[in-house]
Symmetry: none
Subunit: 213 residues, 2 copies
DNA sequence: TACCGGCCTCAACCCTTGCTCGAGGGTTGA
DNA sequence: TCAACCCTCGAGCAAGGGTTGAGGCCGGTA
């Protein structure tokens, strides 16, 4: 079961889970000899905890309250989005049905903003574009471009340049093509769900083929 | 101005504000003699920080990024409310699990255990193996096989059968090949790090190519 | 002109959170 | 029987977020 969670959350460890139990966030059953036995529901609960921690930075205390609320059949009180200062752009954010949905409003970055946000030099960006890894839609870039550029920069430190990364682009294109064959060219809930699945598949496949420690 | 803020946030103190300045969250002007002088905009900014901290439990690091984004005229990526049952891979530009390390000891499952753990029928597993998606090492399977099998089962519900998934295997093989070219065939810390990066790249690429909502 | 309160800096210290580690000791399955 | 896990419990630790205090410079006022 650790393995299962680790597929999704790279940094869970046995001791972390034991800690979470000590904090009362999960209470797995025990075998006669005292071993923890995690039901699927326990795993679900852990998944919730880890997600809240990773994606929302919630402290365990708060997560615990939420879980308590859920257990009592309530919706956890999601405190609203940051009340943006009047002088600044308001953030309407909300939805995120499943977390393959990006920010509720798609980012639209100029090239300079993208460079600033990702902290990468002009030339790297040029190369990324020429190899089709980053593409502008009209005259702006989406939020994923930041991630792509950042990661590409880190990979460059290992000697992997954009031209070595073309295969990734191809693979992603094929993957999306496959998804669209199933769900059609419009984005639906299914699209996101399917994408989440294929990405998970990809991740697991890579792991499984990595040299064993 | 302290008084002002204290009306709203009981626990602000001078030292806290000085601390926030040291962290680069506000940068009030100074008088000739070195006293801090807060403009209304500074106060607004502080209000934002304190609210985000109090109501959303965001760490200062993240708040700082948001402010930076606002300064650049963007919207801070507001991650959504807790989603009770589901949970999925990563959201963009955020958390960065920093390792990709598998469990300290790799799971070794028999075929039947694998089937039981993943809850998939015999035939699916056969197919997965014949297409090279799941491979036995000796006479046992690793933990990733569970994830692969589960996901494959879910994808099957969308009409995607193992034979449609061969490309994923190829892509994963290539990806690992590339990693090994850099780090050598033995698993090292770098291997895991690099794998985490490439998987992130892949994810971001897929996202970026998905039809826009 | 002396004083008193307030602000400044900088380094040191502190508490809480969220884990990790290790010793000491059972349990299991090949 | 032995390796490879699992368990508990206590100690330790890094990071985050401030607080405290010493030593000094303003600035209004009595």
């Amino acid at each position: 079961m650790l393995q299962l969670l680790q597929a999704e959350f790279a940094d869970v460890t046995i001791s972390k889970i034991r800690f979470l139990e000590a904090e009362g966030l999960v209470t797995p059953a025990r075998t006669a000899s005292g071993y923890r036995k995690f039901s699927p529901a326990d795993v679900e609960r852990l998944r919730y905890v880890l997600t809240a921690q990773r994606d929302q930075y919630l402290p365990l205390k708060v997560i615990k309250e939420h879980l308590g609320a859920i257990d009592r059949g309530l919706q956890p009180a999601a405190s609203g989005p940051p009340v943006a200062p009047a002088s600044l752009p308001q953030t309407p954010g909300q939805p995120v049905a499943d977390d393959f949905d990006a920010a509720s409003t798609e980012l639209r970055l100029t090239r300079d903003e993208l460079r600033a946000a990702a902290g990468v030099p002009e030339e790297l960006l040029d190369e990324l574009e020429s190899h089709g890894l980053v593409v502008a839609a009209g005259n702006h870039y989406g939020g994923d471009a930041i991630v792509i550029a950042k990661v590409a920069a880190e990979l460059a430190a290992y000697g992997l340049e954009p031209r070595h990364l073309r295969a990734f682009r191809t693979a992603a294109d094929r993957e999306v093509g496959l998804i669209e064959q199933v769900t059609g060219p419009r984005r639906t809930d299914q699209t996101a769900e399917l994408a989440a699945l294929t990405v998970r598949l990809h991740t697991a496949l890579v792991r499984s083929r990595l040299p064993r420690p």
